[in-house]
Amino acid sequence: MSRSITLGQYMPGESLIHQLNPRVKILALLMMLAVMFIVQTFYALIFLLLFAVLLLASSGVPFSYFLRGIRPILYIALFALVIYFFFTRGGVVLLRIGFITVESDGVREGLFVVTRLVALVLYSLLLTLTTTPLSLTHGMGYFLKPLKYIGLPTDEVAMIMSIALRFIPTLMEESQRLMRAQLSRGADFESGSIFRKAKSLVPLIVPLFISAFRRADELALAMEARGFRLGARRTRLHEDIIAPRDWAVLVFVAATLAAALVLNI
């Protein structure tokens, strides 16, 4: 029942963006972010923002999920706006109340920074909402590969990460079931002092640890029985193929970014 509790924000779907190779998505995101930091004009920025909205719409993920993803940065955005409005000098004076003045350069730069922030977050959400944590790990593992040459065991780290990701939902579900099981034996996890509360967690933590260790043991055995060896080269069931459509999307993204750079002039 790993689907019951989702880790991260993945929203299952069938769109083209969902089906892209995660490596391509990560690379495209990196390119986007780079261009985002290069552009200095509003035209280019608005263009990139509109492009993000277009991609969001084509992903089929309900818009509310993006709004929910943006909510945490609203305060940062607000804070940045205030700082820019009141403290950046230059241009014409738009407002003067006592010793507080708002000048046009501040407004311009404030809006620019906030728009850029929102666009950045939208592009990142687009990746995390349409890619399972597992494929994300695989994709990132690919980009970390060069580190192997300086002696880091990147394959093993990727394997550990994906196993951990695979089991987090399982353990979360198990802890909820345990909680209900102990509740039905009269356990109380809520009332009492901090000390009592900590003590009331023993009936959860002990069985959880026991089962986690048992699971780990069984998993190690099963993996070895199927021929897993440290340092051996592995192939994958779902081969990590860059399909023609992945190339097409990369070219499309690159063209769009080039257009943004032209608008930037």
């Binding site: 019951s4 099981a181 009269g186 109380d188």
Partner: protein, 286 residues
């Protein structure tokens, strides 16, 4: 109605793309002292249903009723409710955390705030009721016991609440035939001698079928049959369609009947089958 539900529905993770309708308008009722079976293929919502009965899950629709009062109305105190309605989870021995059997069984009465003298009385009684000897087990580590004994300790750990209703989720999963027989004999005596109302979830009906007064069959979250045990078990075809099977002896009797012998098919236990086959033999010899 002693305990039951009215149009109970439950949706896991509502409002997300992962929403699962686990129960749909499930209604049933038990009277005090009943022995009932809850049957259904896995994933049919059995565990979800019974977790509503002591307030562990909240209905998405409909209500749960205990002693003519609706659960979830503020007047019902959950701890008091869980004391009266004991729920033994599936594989409950995996939830052990104590260093001695005594502490494990004492967890529930201690949570009720009883003093240690009373706790010890409850533990003694509970261990006695499941047929474990106090001297032998009370200071042993629960993990040193055999799997059958562990299951009995898990049962004792709920009986120590001294509940009036005992609900068990797949209590025989993973037990050997001896353990199964012992457990059901125990449930029978808890029901008949101690007067507990018993509800057992299972899809393995071999030893339990002839204990049941009433049966509720779930499939995909809906009640598809409910009523007195002998009426329900007569609908063998429907059972087989669901991938459930009647007790093996019942199947044997059906085969005899299908072969044209005048055998009764409402036979759910080995003893009944033996008696019926003997009488069949006598009748045929005449």
């Amino acid at each position: 109605m002693f305990i039951g539900t009215e149009k109970l529905s439950h949706i896991y993770m509502p409002g997300t793309p992962y929403a699962t309708k686990a129960l749909e308008e499930v209604s049933f009722s038990l009277d005090r002292g009943d022995f009932a079976l809850l049957i259904g293929p896995s994933g049919s919502g059995k565990s979800t249903l019974i977790q509503h009965l002591n307030g562990l899950l909240k209905p998405s629709g409909g209500k749960v009723i205990f002693e003519d009062r609706e659960l979830g109305s503020d007047s019902v105190d959950l701890l008091a409710l869980r004391k009266r309605i004991g729920l033994v989870f599936q594989m409950a021995e995996e939830h052990f955390f104590s260093e001695t059997v005594y502490d494990e069984v004492a967890f529930a009465p201690r949570n009720l705030g009883l003093d240690e003298v009373k706790v010890e009385q409850n533990v003694k009684l509970a261990l006695e009721r499941v047929g474990l000897e106090w001297e032998v087990v009370h200071d042993r580590h629960p993990f040193q016991l055999s799997s059958g004994q562990k299951r009995l300790v898990a049962l004792a750990a709920v009986l120590s609440l001294q509940p009036e209703v005992l609900i068990l989720d797949e209590p025989t999963a993973g037990l050997d035939p001896g353990g199964r027989l012992h457990l059901f004999a125990l449930l029978k005596s808890l029901n008949q001698q101690a007067g507990l109302t018993v509800l057992v979830c299972t899809h393995h009906m071999d030893e339990v079928a002839d204990l049941a007064d009433s049966v509720l069959v779930l499939n995909r979250g809906k009640v598809i049959m409910s009523g007195p045990a002998h009426d329900i078990f007569a609908r063998r075809q429907e059972f087989n369609k669901l991938g459930l099977s009647l007790p093996e002896v019942t199947e044997v009797m059906h085969c005899l009947a299908a072969a044209g012998l005048p055998a009764r098919t409402d036979i759910y236990s080995l003893e009944q089958a033996r008696a019926e086959i003997n009488s069949l033999k006598r009748r045929l010899e005449k």
